[in-house]
Symmetry: C2
């Protein structure tokens, strides 16, 4: 990687790139993940390890050179690690390290904030099921899942995901689960409609837009696990949940 040394960037910071040069946790975070594409790349890896090709497909417009450069920088920073899957797969994949997994609250917070702008429909926009899986995790209502233990198979637009709910935890990954309690097959539009309560499970099933194998009664319960629309605000805040709104003079 070529590094153009200028006075402020000559320090041994993250990637030798343009730094804000501020002794501030927010600025420092952005020194690491503030560049274009970086947080979207992290989002891609939040559903599990991925190959270069799959990352490339999940980030339309990035270009192989830039993707390669970002991955190298993230690997250098310890946010992403590169691994070769054991035989017979043998493919090289990228995955989030523990440090990288720590970015999930950042991505979730961004998603919850950005959610309100999705009512704008922009013509050329692309839509991938994997992104929606991240959204489900960001809107998961742990309180509603207490005591639930279930494993779901979600087939959306031909892509397969597994979701496991245990206690108040939620796990999502690519690929089919073993022995699911419910298999939901549908398209993105209907899936979003279901979770956002603009399409009822009954209507979705009756119209054939969605189908359920092994446990149709689960669908209604499943849908209730996610906070969309007005309920989303209940999730906001984290540790600073109660410190909103500064004094204004």
């Amino acid at each position: 990687m070529k590094i153009k040394l200028k006075d402020r960037t000559s320090q041994v910071l993250p990637q030798g790139r343009r730094s804000y040069g501020q002794r501030c946790a927010v600025a420092r975070a952005l020194d690491y993940v503030g560049e274009r594409w970086t947080l979207l790349l992290v989002r891609e890896l939040m559903v599990g390890p991925k190959r270069f090709k799959d990352l490339f497909d999940g980030l339309p417009g990035i270009g192989t050179n830039l993707l390669s450069e970002r991955l190298k920088g993230l690997e250098e920073a310890g946010i992403v690690s590169r691994r070769i899957l054991p035989p017979p797969a043998g493919s090289t994949v990228y995955e989030l390290t523990e440090l990288g997994l720590g970015l999930e609250p950042v991505v979730f917070a961004l998603g919850r904030w950005g959610h309100q702008f999705l009512s704008q429909h922009v013509p050329g926009e692309i839509w991938k099921p994997g992104w929606f899986m991240v959204a489900l995790r960001a809107t998961f209502r742990a309180d509603k899942a207490a005591g639930i233990r279930a494993r779901y198979e979600l087939r959306v637009d031909g892509e397969v995901f597994q979701m496991e709910i245990a206690g108040d935890k939620l796990r999502v990954a690519q690929g089919p689960p073993s022995d699911p309690d419910m298999t939901l097959t549908t398209d993105m539009r209907t899936f979003v409609g279901l979770v956002s309560s603009t399409v009822s499970p009954h209507d979705a099933l009756r119209s054939g837009k969605a189908s359920v194998q092994k446990g149709p009664q689960e669908l209604r319960r499943f849908v209730a696990l996610f906070a969309w629309g007005a309920r989303l605000q209940e999730l906001e805040g984290g540790g600073a949940r109660h410190s909103q709104g500064g004094v204004r003079r």
Copy 2:
């Protein structure tokens, strides 16, 4: 603070600018606030309304043209509003709108993640008290503040801030409060040392690095209100607190 999830289709996407073109809440959020300097600008406004000059001083390296451009974009997006203070002040200030205040969880999450990199000391780095006030909000432990009602005056490196704790809420603003329960005068180094528990209140006071008027017994209690170091992780997560760690194949 309540987040209005009303329809914002009338809102203008940052057009003409680079959009990711993805129908994803995270990508959409980054379309609005993903550009360089933008989230740091939001951070600056999180301690209250500011004039152009003060924003400029709080963002070393930005350049007036870029600051102006960012402010214009954020105003257009409804994240920041421009206002002229009533006489006799008459100065124009920028402040976060309700939409902009919704970004606080994002900034806090970034700060909590970036915090771990601050152990690297970079020579030329700048350090401003206002940034630290945001850090205090991001690390506030609401559980430890239950039942506390106090108003603090914090004088750090000549800058004055007010902090009010009521119930489990924390408010921070610029300027002196009326009738504070404690006034703490110190420098950044000592302040950070106190909050991070690397300097004891006793030592700080005895060495003269910090001084307290009106209620020295408050200092110890004050310091305990913030989660630094290992305790920081307890604050993580927000609504997705329990959904960390996806299934990995």
